[in-house]
Point group: D2
Chain length 360, copies 4
């Protein structure tokens, strides 16, 4: 079940960077859900490469073709499969990595696991390219969630040493997410965005790359979803988010900062607000005991710097058993964290929709 | 499947703080595995409360009774069930929280989800008490793993503002874990441990609590286990670790620090060492593309400060709809992170053993 | 996941014939469900051995002890675990079968799979004894289903060559099931029941055993549950029913008789009856395309004759590699099909309750 | 997970009769397995319609296009997706069934479940057309199994009142399966096949249809696979086989005939043969206690007569609430059991390959 996730509503992701196509199948989506294909295309453009100086020059139309599960723009209840043909691939860029594995890539582990039989051109099934089908499914999930009052939005909280304004855990609301959606670069502060772009371009000029942190909020999640101990909201979101290539950490609410806090400061006092139970602060990140409490679900993921860099690196030649120097050609994002912002929303949407499908 | 995890080797955790018993069932453990009950008891004592000034005064023998799946100290291949009777419970300590939910506890979310029918005395099924059965299963898993050359050890990397010496990601080895095992307090640096105890007692005196970070290493994991995209080692460990109450974050290798690093510094160069492929650094935390690479798997979890504190807190009365002040009596750890150290090892062991059971 | 089944509501069965206990854990049962322990005990007595001349003389109280998940007779939403201590076991009866496997028992396959480490005394985890925990969980499920308007009842349709009156597929109703429930021996026709007992006792006198067919009806199942292609009602019931030891076949509605029918006779014409869509006949057995259609779900299972017989049998000595004659002592039902009637209801109840828990 | 099955090696089936395509994704297939596309095409032709007088005139090339997971004819370890475009569809044939549901079809239950939003033209996702992707995956599985010494073959044991020679449960071997493979019509006895064709054509002339029984053997299955209680070979094969449209029953070995047998006749005595433990008879159908015993696994499935018949039938108009007469146009097999023979092999192959992937 390696490339599948979900319980009631599942996504199966398939494809390889240099195979004829990538795609996905969504099972369990209710019948009668209208899909706005234009909105979906707009969402996918946010992930698409080649749209500015800071991302890879690989140019892909990324228009998904729906093969089944949708008629007249409305879901039928049957599995929904959509594919994207791979057109602009330059296989020669990626020759030879199976013998001299790229540092911090999956070349070596894939070689061990698949006995050298995996098609690792362009990263194969490990490629960031596979986040495109995640965005098809996630884009559909976002539309369904929106009709149920659940909105999801993410921003680049940090790139290199530059930080954006963090979400106010207890007060992040739709207007915050709307403001984000209007930006070309996904930061709340345009100035921070400018600085981040500067850092990314500086790294690119030096043949290097930078990492980042993405912060994501889920608004409108009703209280009472998720189940202890291993089926809670954090368990399931974390399991899904680590499926995004390059993610090194996941935290909810206060996250790692909780370690340095006293309980009296960390605890979220309950209050009544407009007849509804809320918490004054939201260090819990909207989840208590694995179950949603009606507050915004806020989490952050750490994204490592793109491992494909132009600078020469040290590796080994698996055949000769000798050290080897490696220079990676091809086109690569100097900062995958930026394009990972909509992917984070997509993965969150798929997981939250699945959790909402549990019987109450 | 809320209280179950695993694919080939599953654990089902059952029980409530004030029910007759807590326990667990392990399914899928191979036949013929000897269980060292004394070693298991010693492992469970590391989690047991009441052993010193810094943990809750609740005193439990915590000797598991094995009901099936083991004959003559050897597993039979059938499901293994073990239980611990709950003896020392003082229900009156926990009266009334269903109406005035404790901040940052599961009282409120459980009330929403279970319609007020859940038995939340002592935290019910959400209680830290449920980590005892996790340690039964995890303790068995640790013994099986040790016979297969896999060792797991964790330490309190940080408590409040005090930090222990971190693991050297690329060099942590058995001698490190052996040194840890010899300590009463789980730190590499005894001095750091002393300071941590000081911080914990200081918080306790003030009716407060502190959080922490636990770091854990898995040694001897062969390369090639785990599968992309959603069945990788990080996905599965993270999903399991968030099942430990109070965990707010999980990170692997460089973790959140990766956000501030350049790719050239973060990438782990491959080297040959003793005829084996290794990496010079280990920012990957032993995992690349979701698959183990043969290096130590190192991860960290953030543990929030104990939500049960003696200080008066603000909450609401769910019946009257009015604000309410709350003072929590009973006995509570001022820092659950310390007792969570062996629990982390247990959960890691269960997950790693399960992953190792996949067909290669 | 060998001894677990279910998706939303799962049962984990544990125990061995000669272990300290057998038991089960139900996960996912909603909070607030009252359990009538007397009704449960009455249900379990229907399965209990030693109650008449035709079943094994082994006498077991079979009173389940609930360890958690229930407070004041009401479910809490947490996992429900109940156990039955094994008291009356005579291990010496079962010595030696690991070397000379009993024909058509699991002795040989268990030896191969578990390397001779399984505890096969009394059949170990393969024993019919394990149907007792199934009846605990199933008995609870039956009570919950009854409150939702779903009733389940089964009868011995055939024992040896004697047949009971079959259910009228389209008209079986609660009065049919109530009549069955009033019988000591589970047949609609008391005369058929008498004859069956005669056949069973005749076989017993000859040191032999007989098989049978059980027919079961699920009434009140609303239309629209179950999902194609592999998650339909038949898929899930069949998978569960083959978990009952000795089951050799499962069929729905017309079943194998469908092979000899013309489509014009087999098709179930739709009719309106009291404003409700029904079918005139019910060869579909209440399921079309894997989804319930509102008609009674009727299925049959074939139960082989008890493999443990007093007559001498031929086997092999696995150590010497030579043919061996085998005489099985101990106490055995000459017809397990009779006691399997309530077990069938239990397994059906667990599966139907799980299916009803899917989101519509 | 409605259209997915499997644990280690999973198949996800997607598509609808009148959608752009049908297809499937196989996850978990090991890397390095060569696919013989010609052999696969030959296998799929056995299921293909339009090849003779007895099947539907709908003519489909059914050449699968592989989108990923295979490079140079060899599997890469990544998910394998293949699709078949739907070309020859005549939607007008199927107008109007959502209001006047066809008897014993899924029209009514799909309407209830999917609120009338499902695309039921041609049967939609419930169509026998969906068995084509099952044959893609199953055809691949058969090739992999053959390299591991496991062969699977099925025949039409019964059509209407005509019976073929049954498999000798204990002696069915490769030569039997090879003989079957050489036949145009899948019977051991050519004469029986001729008679069956006669029965089918007779029913067709009368605007009617006939049912059948398919018998299938799995040879070369090593002992020790499958696990009690709910993960046994019968549980998993049955769950999968009921995914084939129109299946009404599944039985193993002696099956329903076991009900009328004495234990002394039904038990399979163990014997040594060529140094290997075998059983003299094989009423167990190769499975004891859910675990393979090394003998042929033999099972039978009952297939109902095609519900789409030309004869006028009674149904209801769901909108007017009145009785309605229905005449179904379009092209339909008068006996789907014949084309279900290779589908049975496919489903068995997928399941057996998955079971063989469990850790021993």
């Amino acid at each position: 079940m390696s490339s599948q996730m979900g319980k009631q509503i599942t996504i199966t992701v398939f494809g390889e960077s240099h195979a004829p196509a990538v795609g996905m199948t969504l099972c369990g989506v209710p019948a009668g859900e209208r899909i706005d294909f234009e909105a979906l295309a707009a969402f996918m453009r946010r992930r698409a490469p080649g749209k500015d100086a800071i991302s890879t020059a690989r140019c892909e139309a990324d228009i998904p073709e729906f093969l089944c599960g949708v008629t007249g723009g409305v879901t039928t209840g049957a599995p929904i499969t959509a594919i994207i043909r791979n057109s602009d691939t330059r296989s020669s860029d990626y020759k030879g990595f199976s013998q001299t594995p790229r540092p911090s890539h999956a070349d070596y582990t894939a070689t061990v696991k698949y006995g050298g039989k995996s098609d690792m051109r362009g990263g194969g099934h490990f490629s960031g390219r596979l986040t495109a089908p995640l965005c098809i499914g996630g884009g559909v999930a976002l539309q369904i969630l929106a009709r149920r009052g659940v909105k999801i939005g993410a921003h680049a909280l940090r790139i290199a040493d530059v930080s954006d304004t963090p979400f106010d855990l207890a007060k992040v609301d739709e207007s915050t997410l709307d403001a984000l959606a209007a930006r070309d670069f996904p930061t709340l502060s345009p100035a921070a965005g400018e600085k981040m772009i500067g850092e990314i371009l500086a790294a690119k000029r030096e043949g290097d790359s930078v990492g980042g942190v993405i912060e994501c909020a889920v608004l409108g999640m009703p209280a009472g979803f998720g189940a202890p101990m291993f089926d809670g909201i954090e368990n399931r979101l974390a399991a899904a988010l680590f499926g995004i290539p390059a993610v090194k950490g996941v935290e909810f609410g206060s996250g790692f900062a909780a370690a340095g806090m006293r309980g009296s400061a960390h605890n979220d006092p309950f209050i009544f607000e407009g007849g509804i139970v809320r918490t004054k602060t939201n260090n819990s990140g909207g989840v208590q005991g694995g179950i949603s409490n009606g507050m915004p679900i806020v989490f952050r993921i750490a994204v490592k710097p793109t491992p494909s860099i132009a600078k020469e690196q040290q590796t080994v030649n698996l055949q000769t058993g000798e050290a080897a120097a490696l220079t990676i050609g091809g086109r690569h994002d100097p900062c995958i964290a930026v394009r990972a912002v909509p992917v984070t929303e997509a993965v969150a949407a798929l997981t939250i929709l699945d959790i909402l499908s549990e019987v109450q």
